[in-house]
């Protein structure tokens, strides 16, 4: 096997050094009855070129490619990824390094993550951003755990329009501690109804903007509700691109922000690995879970970077740690930093604006094609809800099968009231022509 260096002579001389007669005898400390006797039941080993062929087969049984048209987002967005980013992140010095526990030989990762933290703090409008989390859902759950611990309350109020999967994750994380998630209903505008925050004794209000319907939430109302209740204001977003254009959650006074960074240079990759973003005010700095990179100096007084505030973390604090997280999504954080550094101030704004422009155009086209919009007046970023004309479900299937066009996500499964409603998305990759054609296809129903 080409990954294994051991020649017969190597093995013999090493065993001799060790003083063991055989490889098997190296395992003598394991009682025989604990050992397995049969070979592992696995397919025959494939050489690299057999593997290529096999994986080509896997590819061919998936309808997806860089040329498909994705009018579907819902937490995973089809944005353009610059080739320079793909090349740079593949460099093995980044890819094959461990967590930067030896800072003297990890300054590349460390400065890169420090810059990531800086840019995420700017994007979210917060004081501190962590070195990343798994994804938005888990980051959000952790943010709410901070709230319940700090406030010593048992409940949190969560907008019914955060990503449905995030609700499930929060429930999973809260359940064993006996915490409870209460939903805040949404109103006829497709926005969280902050007048209906439950009266219970809650630790936090969590709201996602743009919300799962794509609508931009009235964040100042969220802030007000939090202030009124003296609870944590936890904001989230699944579409990081929106922050190229929209006011940051920090500017509305959020205490903690959880976000998904997949839009920043990462492939959709069937939903993972994405990039959990987690940021807080200075006050929350020491409550944040996961790694933080800080700037310092070396013995010569030269600038350098280290992992810091580790006393929050499991490897120092063990059962008293703020979280159990150890590995995070660091390489993806670095990718996002590369993306943000590439697009920069003007690029992020322009790309974000184009997302919005295209979504507005798409909505217009769908309207012509007979779609209606339950939240027609509500501002949105690059996603919106549309009610389909009869027969659309079949057209949609055909478009996927024949032309790899994913025309919206049926949200009936998530919101049974919204049968025949689809969540549509348009990113900068979608072309006018694609939208015109989609409208034609639907019209010709």
């Amino acid at each position: 096997m080409r990954y294994l260096p051991h020649t017969k002579e190597d093995i013999d001389s090493m065993l001799e050094k060790i003083g063991k007669p055989s490889i098997d005898s190296l395992f003598d400390s394991i009682p025989d009855q604990l050992k397995t006797n049969e070979p592992l039941d696995l397919p025959d080993a494939l050489t690299e070129w057999e593997l290529d062929e096999h994986m080509l087969g896997v590819e061919q049984s998936i309808i997806a490619s860089g040329q498909c048209t994705y009018f579907i987002g819902a937490g995973s967005y089809d944005h353009y990824i610059p080739h320079a980013v793909k090349y740079l992140i593949s460099r093995s010095e980044f890819m094959t390094a461990y967590t930067p526990y030896q800072p003297e030989v990890s300054q590349g990762t460390l400065q890169g993550i420090y810059e990531f933290q800086t840019m995420i703090a700017e994007l979210t409008g917060m004081d501190v951003a962590t070195a990343s989390h798994y994804d938005c859902g888990t980051a959000l759950a952790e943010a709410l755990l901070i709230a319940v611990r700090k406030k010593k309350k048992k409940k949190v109020a969560v907008s019914s329009l955060i990503h449905p999967a995030h609700k499930q994750i929060i429930n999973t994380y809260l359940a064993p501690g006996g915490y409870e998630l209460l939903e805040i209903p949404y109103n006829e505008k497709g926005l969280t109804d902050f007048s209906k925050v439950p009266d219970d004794d809650i630790a936090a209000i969590a709201v996602q903007s743009p919300n799962f319907f794509g609508n931009i939430e009235p964040m100042e109302l969220a802030k007000k509700a939090c202030d009124d209740k003296k609870v944590f204001f936890v904001a989230s977003f699944t579409e990081a691109m929106s922050l190229g254009l929209l006011k940051s959650p920090g500017s509305y006074g959020a205490d903690l922000v959880a976000g998904e960074g997949q839009s920043l240079g990462l492939a959709k990759s069937f939903g993972g690995p994405g990039l959990g973003l987690l940021a807080g005010t200075n006050k929350q700095m020491r409550n944040l879970p996961g790694r933080l990179v800080g700037k310092t100096t070396d013995t010569n007084g030269d600038r350098g970077y280290v992992l810091t505030l580790a006393t929050r973390e499991q490897h120092i604090r063990r059962e008293k740690a703020s979280s159990n997280i150890c590995s995070n999504n660091g390489l993806n954080a670095l990718t996002a930093a590369m993306y943000l550094a590439s697009a920069g101030k003007t690029g992020m704004r322009e790309i974000a604006q184009q997302n919005h422009d295209k979504a507005v155009y798409l909505k217009g086209k769908l309207s012509e094609a007979g779609f209606t919009f339950p939240f027609d007046e509500t501002p949105f970023f690059n996603e919106f809800i549309a009610k389909a004309p009869a027969g659309f479900a079949e057209t949609r299937k055909r478009l996927i099968r024949d032309r790899c066009i994913y025309a919206g996500l049926d949200i009936g499964t998530y919101f049974p009231d919204l049968k025949d409603h689809y969540l549509f998305c348009a990113t900068e990759k979608v072309k006018k022509e694609d939208m015109d054609n989609l409208a034609l296809e639907v019209k010709s129903l």
């Binding site: 260096p5 051991h6 090493m14 060790i18 009682p31 604990l34 070979p39 696995l42 397919p43 494939l46 593997l51 994986m55 896997v58 049984s61 998936i62 860089g66 093995s92 010095e93 980044f94 094959t96 390094a97 800072p103 003297e104 030989v105 990890s106 300054q107 400065q111 420090y114 933290q117 800086t118 798994y134 499930q168 359940a175 501690g177 922050l243 254009l245 929209l246 940051s248 492939a267 959709k268 990759s269 994405g274 800080g294 013995t299 970077y305 006393t311 120092i316 059962e319 008293k320 590995s327 660091g330 550094a341 920069g344 690029g347 992020m348 604006q353 919005h356 422009d357 295209k358 996927i400």
Partner: protein, 484 residues
């Protein structure tokens, strides 16, 4: 000189924003083909102070940064408990295939059969390796797998109307173990591994009771020793209604040799970014699948990949499930890499990997034990733990030796973990290092230990040839500067 470390030209590089100049941009954005649709300024931000670079600046920035890093491709990286094995290039090629990179998580089952089948088959392969009836691929990392496992144990007791308050965790455990216990609302109860370096049935017996939900065992443990009493311990825990959690981060020692499911462990997580060769990426993303016995299968997180008449589906309708742990299905891109690795290795290859990992560790142990102190001089599994006792008389610490190794061109081992050994120096060579490299490493440690006697200053100032010298971590933590 025989060791690889030497000094050469590298490049300084400022922080991104120090390079920024108004008007530059490293992406070219097409003119929009639709009309501009301004959003009400009530919603739009006034500023977004990101750096403005052109493509060359961006490329140089990250090229230079990369050169300050040490990766597995740079040299031996014997971090104990981290299994820094070679990350095959073919895995990266497979994971970046167009369809695999482009597939949308909500595209729909019918259009993503290949992706679901890959997950299904990977679960089957991990089952074959560990012996479990069912596996979930959803956890995003080892610690996330631990959380999943603890939640499953929690749910199991809940279902039995027998909720408990404690979980036993040995002193050799990785920090994530007690932290996961806490995160799951349990109290962590310590148990000492004792002078043999492994758990005794007596010690467990002494703390196990009917208010204890279970025990977390790492086997082989972080001293590199096989917990040979595992079966008795499991019996004790099971007898009191508890469950046994296995931290499978050290699975690299026992593939094809021991199946955790056979030895009394009810639920186990794996680290694909250790045993299954996926890259660590400077901290992640990894993946931490969890295997469970059939009794615990109902509690697995949703969705579960199922196969019905050659059709693969995602089942969300599982009333006893602990719920969801990840927005979609876990770290699919990492799963592709691990799947590629398993297919490339096959049954014999994986067993050989474990055999050679153990051979390498024992070889290092035997080669170094005349130089450094070996607190547990026992046959080891995939790793072995030394410490600085022999060097302390010269005022040289584990940290000094570790830092000096950098000058010699080796990544240091894990230091000061596990906690049960003072000044521990924890070596895990993995199977992908050759005898020649191990010999070079041994010579480096020997040379350094001679220096410790003859010229300790050079260890105290080490590393001497890296881009930066030792960093002031105290000030970093005292006055945190977390952004520029």
């Amino acid at each position: 000189m025989n060791h690889p470390g030497t000094s050469g030209l590298i490049f300084r590089e400022p922080e991104l924003w120090e390079k920024s100049r108004a008007g530059r941009c490293a992406v070219s954005i097409p003119e929009s083909d639709v009309e501009r649709a301004p959003l009400n300024t009530e919603y739009t931000r006034d500023s977004l102070e990101l750096p403005e670079l052109y493509e060359v600046d961006m490329v140089r920035h990250y090229t230079r940064l990369s050169q300050w890093n040490f990766g597995i491709d740079s040299g031996m990286y014997p971090l104990g408990s981290c299994t820094m094995k070679y990350n095959p290039k073919t895995n990266e090629a497979q994971a970046s295939r167009d369809a695999l990179a482009s597939v949308h998580p909500l595209a729909g089952e019918e259009y993503t059969q290949g992706a679901l089948k890959l997950m299904y088959d990977l679960e089957r392969h991990l089952s074959a390796i560990t012996g479990y009836d069912a596996v979930t691929l959803q956890p995003a990392a080892g610690a996330h797998g631990e959380l999943a496992g603890m939640l499953i144990i929690h749910a199991y007791h809940e279902k039995n109307n027998d909720q408990r308050s404690k979980v036993i965790v040995p002193d050799t455990a990785h920090g994530t173990n007690p932290a996961s216990v806490t995160l799951c609302g349990y109290e962590s109860v310590n148990v000492d591994s004792g002078k043999g370096g492994i758990l005794t049935p007596e010690a467990v017996e002494a703390v196990m009771d009917e208010d204890t939900a279970g025990i977390m065992v790492t086997n082989p443990n972080t001293l590199g020793l096989f917990e040979r009493n595992i079966k008795e311990i499991a019996d004790i825990v099971h007898a009191k209604g508890g469950l046994v959690y296995g931290d499978g981060a050290n699975m690299n020692a026992i593939m094809g040799i021991v199946k955790p499911a056979d030895i009394g462990i009810d639920v186990l997580h794996l680290n694909l970014h250790k045993t299954f060769s996926t890259p660590h990426g400077g901290g992640g993303p990894g993946s931490g699948p969890v295997g469970v016995t059939s009794a615990l299968e109902p509690f697995l997180p949703v969705p579960v990949v199922e196969k019905n008449n050659d059709l693969y589906t995602l089942n969300l309708d599982r009333p006893d499930s602990i719920g969801r742990l990840h927005t979609f299905y876990g770290h699919f891109g990492i799963l592709v890499r691990a799947y590629s690795y398993i297919l490339s290795m096959g049954a014999e290859g994986l067993k050989n990997a474990s055999e050679y990992a153990v051979l390498n560790a024992n070889y290092l142990k035997e080669s170094l034990k005349k130089t450094m102190n070996l607190p547990f001089d026992l046959p080891c599994m995939h790793e072995c733990v030394f410490n600085d006792k022999n060097q302390q008389p010269f005022h040289v610490s584990t940290m000094d030796i570790a830092k000096r190794l950098l000058d010699y061109g080796f990544h240091p081992p894990t230091v000061y973990f596990p906690l049960v050994v003072e000044g521990s120096f924890m070596l895990e060579p993995t199977e992908t290092e050759s005898k020649e490299t191990l010999d070079q490493f041994v010579q480096a440690v020997e040379a350094i230990c001679r220096e410790a006697e003859e010229n300790p200053e050079i260890l105290h100032s080490a590393p001497n040839i890296t881009k930066v010298t030792r960093l002031d971590e105290v000030s970093a933590a005292r006055k945190p500067c977390l952004k520029g």
